[in-house]
């Protein structure tokens, strides 16, 4: 369709009566919302990952108990019947607890430092 030079009234009617502007803080507010939504999305993914890990672990443990539960139980009972066995079990348990705590502390440290870098707004 050819544009005519005649549509003067239409052009003027289409022009806004008073110019309407976005507020000057629009980019700031929108960036804040984008960051917030990204954080929420990260959280959602973390929760989803955690639920998946729990479900997979439960399924795995249940399968172990179902298939070799009896054998495991007898092994544990036989270990506890021999006092020498504690020399091996106790340090192993201690190491497990130590590494679990260290892992928790390190991941917290990593999260704190990565959030610090991301706060540029």
């Amino acid at each position: 369709m050819e544009k005519t030079t005649k549509d003067r009234a239409l052009m003027q009617a289409l022009a806004p009566k008073e110019p309407r502007q976005l507020p000057s803080n629009f980019p700031y507010l929108t960036m804040r919302r984008i960051k917030e939504e990204q954080r929420m999305e990260e959280k959602r993914q973390q929760i989803f990952a955690m639920i998946s890990i729990i479900v997979v672990s439960l399924v795995g443990i249940s399968a172990l108990l179902f298939f070799i539960g009896d054998v495991l139980w007898h092994s544990i009972v036989s270990i506890f019947k021999q006092p020498d066995a504690f020399a091996l079990v106790l340090p192993t348990l201690f190491c497990l607890v130590f590494f679990a705590l260290a892992n928790h502390w390190l991941s917290r440290q990593y999260q704190t430092s990565s959030h610090g870098e991301g706060q540029t707004l």
């Binding site: 369709m1 544009k3 005519t4 005649k6 549509d7 003067r8 009234a9 239409l10 052009m11 003027q12 009617a13 289409l14 022009a15 806004p16 009566k17 309407r20 502007q21 976005l22 507020p23 629009f26 980019p27 507010l29 929108t30 960036m31 919302r33 984008i34 960051k35 939504e37 990204q38 540029t120 707004l121």
Partner: protein, 179 residues
């Protein structure tokens, strides 16, 4: 699209979300101009433009560069505003065309500067896609291909639509809302 904008998009996709501020600064007002015509309340329009930019940022990887970023964001802003209006179930006039109406009559009415106010009122009664089409075409002087992309229609149907909208506007200013 400018080369530096492509680089910026690549950086944003690489995790530098803060660079998206450039697009907000540069194209915010343009997207707002489209939305504010359809959604008269300033606050609602601002929120919808914000929604459009958040959506654009979240789906930035789908931007293929076939259009300019400006056209792409205008399309998102337009669809956001239209879905908002749809949810609100806004009513618009739909008018059956009158075959006996001549183009000369319509042209004459659109050149008559005493009818600006009537035309303004008539424009508000058009459907959102019609309002956007005539604004982008007559007021913003956008190329037909860009308009077709924003409205998600084939470019070859725009001429017919523009013709129909002109006739509809004429009938509205002639007979008023009660037509």
């Amino acid at each position: 699209m400018q080369a530096d904008e492509k680089e910026l998009i690549a950086r944003i996709l690489d995790g530098h979300a803060e660079d998206f501020g450039y697009f907000l600064e540069r194209y915010g007002q343009e997207a707002f101009a489209i939305v504010v015509r359809l959604v008269p309340q300033q606050e609602d329009a601002e929120e919808l433009v914000q929604d459009a930019f958040v959506r654009a940022c979240n789906r930035l990887e789908t931007f293929e560069g076939r259009s300019s970023f400006s056209t792409w964001i205008c399309r998102i802003a337009y669809t956001t505003a239209v879905s908002w209006l749809r949810k609100r179930r806004m009513k618009y006039l739909s008018i059956d065309d009158q075959p006996q109406l001549t183009d000369a009559e319509v042209d004459e009415a659109f050149d008559d500067e005493s009818r600006i106010e009537e035309l303004r009122c008539a424009i508000t009664l058009l459907k959102p896609d019609e309002q956007t089409l005539i604004t982008l075409y007559y007021y913003d002087n956008r190329p037909l291909n860009d308009i077709a992309y924003i409205l998600d229609v084939e470019p070859n149907v725009l001429a017919t639509r523009l013709h129909r909208i002109r006739r509809k506007l004429y009938l509205l200013i002639k007979h008023g809302k009660n037509y």
